[in-house]
């Protein structure tokens, strides 16, 4: 399997996908970004043993308002599954509603980041998320996640 670390972006809004890619590029984050546009696709991808020859993502950026299966449910299912439960997952969303924050942390999200409207601020937020989860943060040992090699 390919061991090249990549980012999984679960986001249904193509504008946000484009802006996020642009923000990564501006921050010189060269990791591949795999984009899935609804919760069902995301779960199918993550729970698929083959995964088109890929390993598990290094970090998941998860929108909350997703078609078919909501971001919170995706999070819950990831955390309930032995193979995926340790993947660092960041909620990246427009909402800063209290109930969303609470639910996210209850379900074991690693970070909750609100997408700022101001693109410069957005770029800065993406920079920090990328820097932290892709560079600073030590990922859990591969054996524990049952698939990363």
């Amino acid at each position: 399997m390919s061991s090249k670390p990549y980012i999984l972006l679960v986001e249904d809004n193509p504008d946000d996908v484009e802006l996020t890619r642009r923000a990564f590029a501006k921050n010189h984050i060269a990791n591949e970004v795999v984009v899935l546009t609804d919760g069902a696709q995301a779960l199918e991808f993550l729970f698929d043993a083959d995964r088109h020859g890929r390993s598990l993502p290094q970090v998941i950026l998860l929108d909350l308002k997703l078609p078919k299966i909501s971001g919170l449910e995706v999070l819950e299912r990831i955390r309930a599954n032995d193979a995926t439960c340790l993947i660092p997952t960041v909620i990246l969303t427009s909402s800063k509603q209290d109930e969303d924050l609470l639910a996210g942390y209850r379900l074991g999200v690693n970070s909750y980041v609100r997408k700022p409207v101001d693109f410069n601020e957005f770029v800065e937020a993406v920079r920090q998320v990328g820097l932290y989860w892709l560079v600073l943060n030590e990922a859990p040992p591969a054996a524990a996640t049952g698939g990363m090699s």
Binding site: D16, T93, S94
Partner: protein, 653 residues
Amino acid sequence: MADDSVLRPDLALVLERITDGFFALDAQWRISYMNAEARKLLHAREDVLGVYWLDAFPKARGRLFEREYTRAMRDQRPVQFVEYSQTANRWFEVKAYPSLDGLSVYFRDVTARIEAQQEVERTARRQQALIDFGRTALSGGHLDALLSDAVDLVREALDASVIEVYDYEPQNACFALRYAAGWATGAAMEREFPALEHLRHAVESGEPFVSSDIRIESRARSLAPLAALGVLSCICVPIGSAREPLGAIVAFHPKPRTVSAVDVRFVEALAQTIAEAARTSESNRRIAQVLESIRDAFVAVGRDERITYVNARMAAFWGGEPVDFIGRPLAHFTEKFEDGGYGAARFRESLREDRPLTFEMPFRERWFEVRLYPYSDGVAAYVRDITRRKNEQQRMIALNVELERRVAERTKQLELANKELESFSYSVSHDLRAPLRAIDGFSQALVEDYAEALGDGGRGYLDRVRKAAQRMADLIDALLGLAKVARASIEMRPLDVTEIVREVAADLHDGDPCRDVEIEIETGMRASGEPGLVHAVFANLMGNAWKFTRLAERPKIRVGRTPEGEFFVADNGAGFDMAYSNKLFGAFQRLHAADDYEGTGIGLATVARIVHRHGGSVRADGAVGSGATFYFTLPAAKERVGLDEQQTVHPAG
């Protein structure tokens, strides 16, 4: 025969000595011997011997003496009897022994014994009569019937020829003849009542007045003329006491005589019973008057469950006169109640447990309240028509049910509205910001990637696009905040308001360190409220003051309380025109151009909503160029209770 008539001397001696009377008759009923005692008792003549006995004692003819002696001789068997001798005016006990040649008769005077016996019997009869009379009086019969009984008793006991009963009328101290018996027809009518001195004596002293001969009665001259009507002695007994005289009873006798103490006491006893009956009758009459006058229906039932009294109102309800119902069984009426025996059972319960009871029952499409009061002889029931009250009650109950239904319905609607508002807020929060981000992001991308093609003008427009997008994002956040205040449930807590104000002041200074604004804070301010929301109130008001004093020469903000207890935030900034003060607290209302002072126009709306949700009020005071003051109230500090339930349950309201 002559030989037979002479007794042997020794025998004669014996017969003379015995204390009994003795005489002997020969076969021809002639007296052959009579001892001294017999001669004395019978007042016999000296020459009675040899005289036919009925010639010697003619008054014995036809009486027991003759009948019994004849029977003794006929049957030749001894006889014994007691008879009153009119010859001697004494009672004799007689024993007569017949033989073929005559009859021996022994007798003795038993007058004392017989009279004593008769006295005992008469006393017993009178006592029985008094007891019967008292019982009649107690049974509550009519007073006139009772008086009639009394008159018969007096006449019989005293052997009186005339009886009168008078009423005494205290208003004019006059007597009125109520009852008279024994006068020759019309005699009573001719008499003059005011001059009845004998009655006055008795009534005024409270003691019987006795005159043994009215012809020579010096105490009551009014009596003497009555002698012409055939009466010569009288007894006059008062009814009632000297203090409260009710009348008198008078008995006349055709002969002069002294009435015995026993007789006087007998009449007195009757008079006392009559007085009690009269008083009872009077008090019953008064009670009846009361019971007739009360507006409730009244019925009394005896222990035998028969009706003993109904007032006119009750009788009218049952369709009749009171007399139609007295004595009839209660069941006769209760069985019409159609209450499954409930009413009758309550009557019995009250009687059995000797305890007052109240119950309500429907009857003939009306409602009645029945109050039962047990007493020694039965149960008294007051019945009141409560149809109006009951209808009112039921109307109230129906109204309440309807009201509760409406409240429940409204609550449900509010809950639904609240849910919709929540999902609306959620949707706004998630969906409205994404396009703004795209507008801003791609504007920036254009500036970065196509700067030359755009030129200065193009870049300037894109800058405006981006500012507008940012501003809209702020508005959305402010709106969401306002919605949050509406939905939040408020838990009252004691607050150190001065401390909150200090925190807000510190934040303002920290956020804008370039400005020098004097903030004066009153110490010791306290209140009750939700800490976060009260903080937001001061943050908004003081933030506004901070903002609008930007152009002031020496900017100053004062926070404190009025003497009435209102909190205020005052500044010496731009102020506002009072003409628009009613627009201050509406959402998105601004009194200043956006270019002059930044802001979303949501702040004061949020303040007003928070204050209202605390049960307080808010107002503003100001003038253009001379600053603004905002006043608001919060619950006092000692009140630790939460807001009422409705506000907590229906935050959207």
